[in-house]
Amino acid sequence: MTAPIETTGATEATPEALVEGVDKSRIEGRSLGRIAWMRLKRDRVAMAGGVVVVLLVLIAALSRPIQSIFGLDPNKLNQDLVDPSLSTPYGSFGGMSWDHPLGVEPRLGRDIATRILEGSWVSLLVAFGATMVAVVIGTVLGVIAGYYGKWADTIISRTMDTFLAFPVLLFAISISAALQGGAFGLKGLQLHIGVLIFVIGFFSWPYIGRIVRGQTLSLREREFVEAARSLGARGPFILFRELLPNLVGPILVYSTLLIPTNILFEAALSFLGVGIQPPQASWGGMLSSAIDYYQVDPMFMVVPGVAIFLSVLAFNLLGDGLRDALDPKGRR
């Protein structure tokens, strides 16, 4: 990946122009970005995914302000809208109305639209946070393993194998259950989100780590790296100035693809009752409480299901498009 461009850029660099060469490679990088962007723009499906992703991020970021502007409260009970003997909302489609465009929950009568809105920032925050944790750990350890090789590689690679073999779900369930109440100076919602980010991120770094290690392995034998080394460049310089810029592409692609996985993971944990705790809204939690009503009040299950589905699909489409766009061997 990115081989021809980098090779040209690096071989052209003369010793005196080394500083300038860095500059040059930045220009090359930019043009690489421009090429990728042009390719991406031509990919309508990826662009559609991208638009949805941007919208999602906007919604999630503005979730709380939107709520306070419109006076929405995701935990407000509207039990007068729920039939006390059936436990399901009055009216059709789960109690849809102008006040409650997506209906209300059975039993408690909380507004579903508001809860979806409130759940969006939880889902995305956990997904982004966990991905960030995974990317940081994965990149650092992947580069070290790939560049230094030998025993560093052996240790890190075996650690990655261990993590991949770990029963993540069981671990997540037990750690979430054990950490109720308070830990690390965090309490309540902060704690639950923190635990989720940690657990999910801590167990998905090997995926990124392996890819980065593989890329580093092939890059470190390249001429431009050898050239830098022959000019007296040391480990850290080569790592940060020569290798990392060339790893940005794959890292970007795989983290975009890791985000939807993490959204699903968060939903799964909340679904199992060990993620976000009530009454805080989360998509997985909503899905889980909808099970009891899937026949008599299907809307309650459809809405969070669609929310999860759309966001996962959008991130995947964008990620696929990015991979195609950043792949120099791509035909477009």
């Binding site: 009970l77 729920v82 436990s87 039993r107 109440g181 009454p279 409480s289 009503y293 899937y294």
Partner: protein, 586 residues
């Protein structure tokens, strides 16, 4: 999801009693007052009378269960439906006869000729055992078999740990008897005497006037010593009742057939109607509902009631094929009376006023799942007495002003933070906690909900004094039903301060009120039944006065009834389940 872990923790009396849905008594439903098209009987027809009373014999009665029982062994089970069902193959000294309303909650002699004779002020209980009662293999049942059954079920907790152990609690045990599996001597425990083959004498440490209820537990059903193989006995149970096992396949099914050695002359309660009784385990609950509707299955074995789906459909269609009785259980909010700020009665009163019981009842699943409660004893537990609710609010919706006034009096005018616990596998309990959290927030009390697995709720969390103190957790969601149908059976475990320990508490209000303790201790020694009932009603009132609990709902269960079954009646002795003893087929 649906972890519904059915752990039969021995300490957590409530865990198992609560999971085996139950109840009895007169709940009435708006739907279907008239005669229905389908079955001919109205909704709730099996609550106030025995429906389709009949002596017709024959057929195969089919039960289906969503789960498996802890054990089929009558000496090793804590599930209400197993106490109910095992009477078919196990005759205890006393038992409960099928019947509507309070009459089912009165123990009647079964293996015994009559109720126990109390001497020594209620410390010694003597039962005469009927002559000529035989096991399925034709050998006669003797007092020694009953003694052995009590020994194995109560004194060998390492082998049989699943049932209650009230006998071990109340019987004298000066020599520290270790149970029949360790102590192989013929004599057994000294405090149960068998002067002849048809007399059995129990000697207690203290006067206990409700001993007839204890011997009505299935643990007094005789077990032949030479056929007993510990926890595996459930696979080769020797029947003393009207039916015997033809086959039992753990986790799959059980088939019972008529026991030809059972003699109706020795038994006034049992009818022996169907030719065969089949129980199928681990069937999807929705499948069970559909099978009952289609007539392929007759009764839901574990009596959990219909699924939410079926409930909505049946109520929407105004079906008559349902019974919606109360279950002798109370859903309530317990407050830790030994933890600040709840150690101040005014802070507890603030919660009493703040809680919106109407909202809580709706969160639990609405009218079919419970009636709004104002007392500790549910109306279908004998000795329940209605009285004016000291914390009545308009429409039971809570009163913010009164709550705030009470908060001021306890020196917390701005409210405070606390923790509210609920059990993970119970979605309705979590929804209920959510409703309570919302109501408390209105008066400034911020309760953080924390969920814990039901199997450890009493041992490690709400019932552990250390945990509650360390985590400043003062509020607990709770549901309670009694092990025997009396005020004492209900209250003793949730109000008696004398029994408080470090963990495993079911008295999670940590209530230790000398007056209540004395009332309970005195009343159980009082032979006058009416006076006892009065004392229990008194305890009920005092629990509310001290604001130790906020009663939320009287639990109700919604059964789907099959129109093919005869002698259907909801039993108060088995917390609102159909009485399984004499069910037959049309």
């Amino acid at each position: 999801m649906k972890l519904r872990s059915k752990s039969a923790a021995m300490l957590a009396v409530a865990v198992s009693v609560a999971l085996t849905v139950s109840a009895c008594g007169g709940g009435s439903n708006d739907d279907g007052e008239g005669e229905g098209e389908g079955g001919g009987a109205a909704a709730n027809a099996a609550i106030d009378k025995v429906l389709n009373a009949s002596d017709k014999k024959g057929g195969t009665l089919v039960y289906e269960s969503a789960d498996v029982p802890d054990s089929m062994d009558p000496g090793n089970t804590y599930y209400g439906y197993m106490w109910n069902f095992s009477r078919l193959y196990a005759r205890s000294l006393m038992t409960y006869a099928p019947g509507p309303g309070a009459q089912a909650a009165e123990p009647v002699p079964d293996l015994a000729e009559g109720p126990g004779e109390a001497t020594d002020g209620g410390k010694t209980w003597t039962y005469k055992i009927k002559k000529g009662v035989k096991y399925e293999d034709g050998t006669e049942i003797t007092a020694g078999d009953v003694k052995y059954a009590v020994e194995r079920s109560n004194y060998a907790r390492d082998v049989l740990s699943l049932g209650p152990n009230y006998f071990a609690q109340y019987l004298q045990n000066p020599d520290d008897y270790k149970g029949p599996y360790k102590d192989k001597s013929e004599e057994g425990i000294a405090s149960i005497e068998t002067p002849d083959d048809h007399t059995i004498v129990f000697k207690l440490d203290q006067a206990f006037q409700e001993f007839d209820y204890l011997v009505a537990m299935t643990q007094t059903a005789p077990v032949p010593r030479d056929k007993d193989n510990g926890s595996d006995y459930q696979k080769n149970i020797v029947s003393s009742g009207s039916y015997k096992f033809e086959s039992f396949d753990l986790d799959k099914s059980a088939t019972l057939v008529r026991n030809d050695q059972w003699d109706p002359k020795t038994d006034k309660i049992r009818k022996q109607l169907p030719d065969k009784i089949e129980v199928r385990f681990k069937v999807n609950p929705e499948t069970i509902d559909k099978n009952i509707e289609a007539g392929k299955t007759h009764v839901m074995f574990d009596a959990l009631g219909v699924t939410a789906q079926t409930q909505s459909q049946m109520l929407r269609d105004k079906s008559n094929m349902l019974d919606n009785p109360t279950g002798g259980r109370l859903t309530y909010l317990a407050m830790n009376t030994q933890l600040a700020p709840f150690d101040d009665v005014n802070c507890r009163k603030a919660v009493e006023y703040a809680v919106d019981k109407d909202s809580s009842m709706r969160a639990l699943g609405g009218e079919p799942k419970g009636d709004i409660a104002t007392t500790a004893l549910p109306p279908d537990v004998p000795s329940h007495e209605a009285y004016d609710d000291p914390y009545a609010t308009e429409g039971s919706k809570g009163d913010v002003d009164k709550a705030k006034a009470a908060l001021k009096e306890c020196g917390q005018p701005d409210g405070f933070d606390t923790v509210l616990t609920a059990r993970t596998e119970r979605q309705d309990e979590i929804d209920n906690a959510t409703a309570i959290q919302a109501a408390l927030k209105k008066v400034g009390i911020n309760a953080e909900i924390q969920k814990f697995p039901g199997g450890k709720y009493f041992t490690d969390f709400a019932g552990s004094r250390k945990w509650t103190q360390d985590n400043k957790a003062g509020l607990y969601m709770m549901q309670w039903g009694s092990d025997w149908p009396s005020g004492y059976g209900f209250l003793q475990q949730i109000a008696n301060g004398g029994a408080l320990g470090e963990s495993g508490n079911t008295n999670i209000s940590y209530l230790d009120d000398p007056e209540i303790n004395k009332l309970l201790d005195d009343s159980i020694a009082d032979p006058d039944k009416a006076a006892r009932a009065k004392a229990y009603a008194e305890v009920d009132k005092k629990m509310l006065e001290t604001a130790a609990i906020v009663p939320l709902s009287y639990f109700k269960v919604l059964h789907q009834r099959s129109d093919k079954v005869t002698n259907l009646v909801v039993s108060q002795a088995f917390s609102g389940q159909y009485d399984y003893l004499n069910l037959g087929l049309k």
